[in-house]
């Protein structure tokens, strides 16, 4: 086909320009700035002195930073794999249902995902309210002593992890359902003819064919949960945020509450690098696992 390459370039430039302008302004420029100020002792707003690697070296002896790293890792551990498994189980159950009925049941599982985090917070704060929460009535009924979950150091992160799984599972369930739908029915018919058991069918057919989706869900969840902030912040209101410190919370505290832009940027860069490295690693790892299955 004949193409007039000069007009084509010009048109392309016009079409790409609006996105590029915003992308450079709101993404590339802030990213470059983040790296730059992490080497200075700048406050939140304003210039600072060049201090080299000082901000990074200080992180090594910073107990709060360590706590933030461990809490983030702990939170990721409690949400990513359990959340993915729960979503898979739900998707397997929902995929058996038919038509309108399936849509209703799916809506029940999916609705939490649609809600803003502050709505999720208010609902769970109420459900788990120490005095009046319905969950506490349930504990009484089972004879288990009540726990003020969001005020307890032991239970805070597990409880927030549980709420997060409840909140975000809808997304993973949808992806698993899409994956299950794309498995041809003939394969299952053939398996049924061979008298294979439910478990064998799952292990030999569903699971391998669903593996690409599973790895996608795991990757998305991992990137998402490393950035945990909103829930931890909201549930910490009136509690002890320093005990529940996570990485983004630490960036927020350093920059916006202690006015230490440079130190905060060093933590932000660490998170940035961590997310990129972890997602690249996981991508490679999952691809390797997939290849070994073949």
């Amino acid at each position: 086909m004949l193409r007039n390459s000069r007009t084509e370039r010009l048109v392309a430039l016009v079409l790409v320009a609006p996105f590029m302008a915003i992308y450079l302004l709101a993404f590339v420029y802030p990213t470059v700035q983040m790296f730059r100020i992490s080497f200075t002792d700048a406050p939140l707003i304003g210039a600072g002195r060049w201090v080299g690697l000082d901000n990074y070296l200080r992180l090594d002896n910073d107990p709060m930073f360590r706590r933030a790293v461990w809490n983030t890792a702990y939170f990721v551990l409690m949400t990513v794999v359990p959340g993915t498994l729960i979503a898979l189980l739900i998707a397997l159950g929902v995929s058996r249902l038919k038509g309108r009925f399936q849509a209703i049941v799916l809506a029940l599982f999916f609705l939490p995902y649609i809600l803003p985090v502050s709505v999720v917070y208010l609902i769970w704060d109420w459900t788990l309210n120490f005095q009046f929460g319905i969950a506490m009535h349930a504990l009484d009924w089972l004879g288990i002593p009540r726990v003020p979950v969001f005020k307890s150091r032991l239970w805070f992160l597990p409880a927030v992890a549980g709420v997060t799984i409840w909140w975000t599972a809808g997304f993973s369930i949808l992806l698993f359902l899409a994956g299950l739908r794309s498995i041809p029915a003939e394969i299952y018919e053939a398996a049924a003819l061979d008298n294979s058991t439910r478990w064998t069918t799952f292990r030999r057919i569903t699971w391998p064919l669903l593996w690409p989706i599973t790895s996608l869900v795991l990757t998305i969840q991992l990137i998402l949960q490393l950035k945990i902030f909103d829930q931890v912040y909201l549930f910490s209101i009136g509690g002890r945020p320093n005990d529940n410190m996570v990485l983004v919370y630490y960036v927020f505290q350093k920059a916006f509450q202690q006015n230490q832009g440079g130190r905060a940027a060093a933590v932000a860069v660490t998170l940035f690098v961590l997310v990129v490295v972890v997602s690249v690693l996981q991508f490679q790892l999952l691809r390797f696992a997939e290849r070994r299955r073949r």
């Binding site: 790409v16 739900i90 359902l177 209101i237 960036v251 920059a255 940027a265």
Partner: protein, 280 residues
Amino acid sequence: MNVMAAQRWNFWGGIITALTLVWAILWAFPLYWGVISSLKPDDEVVRPYIELWPETPTLENYIDALTTTQIGAWYVNSVAVAVGVTVITIFISMLCGYAISQLRFPGRIALWWLILASFMVPISALIINHFVLVANLGLINSWAGIMLPQLIHPVIIIVYKQFFDQVPKDFREAAVMDNASEFGILFKIYMPMNWGVTTALSIVCFIWTWNAFLWPFLSVTRTEIMTITVGITQVNDAFGVYYARQLSAAVLAGLPVALAYLFFQRRVTEAITLSAGIKG
């Protein structure tokens, strides 16, 4: 398949279906409990026993929430910001996706990789520099300030590019034969074709923006500029221990997105599976 196997199959199938139903009801129960509690008068909501339906249902909490807080203003802010972000994001992403898919220009591949890579970058790591940028532009406490860092959703460009890739080349060739201009091809031929994708992506973009918390929370200090998602966390102070009023504010904040989902259920699920890069 022999009869025994068929029966065993159906028995376990029935159990799994029943378990799924029970699970679904338990899963959605906190939502029900929140809504029901918001309809109870003050003295009823703190009763020490479980009441699955309000004895005297009342809208008092809603009236209170609407009149004593700035929920009205927060609604206006949320709608303005969510509509603004959605319109701008969808428009610039469609243009960019079209260019990458259909046109040949230097830097095309590099741009595509840049967009794919930015999928991995944690936007929340950029909050400090977003704040500095928006403050320097004088946009703290403004709709534009809340919108600016939220205008970048690489995944929408990715979906558009993949959609345009799948349109048969004949359309384009025929239009070029007719001497149609590039813009003519995009707006008269390709755009009408992608209404379905555009609606689906617009709904999810609207929901994402409506629900955004961290950035709107940081970039706004004056109560009357808050979006509703941020605003309702303030009613704790205003309402203290009046749980039912807090919950009615929560219902008001969640209602628009819940309704959007229920009305456009198929579009939403379609957009989400599309945006994760799989065809359902």
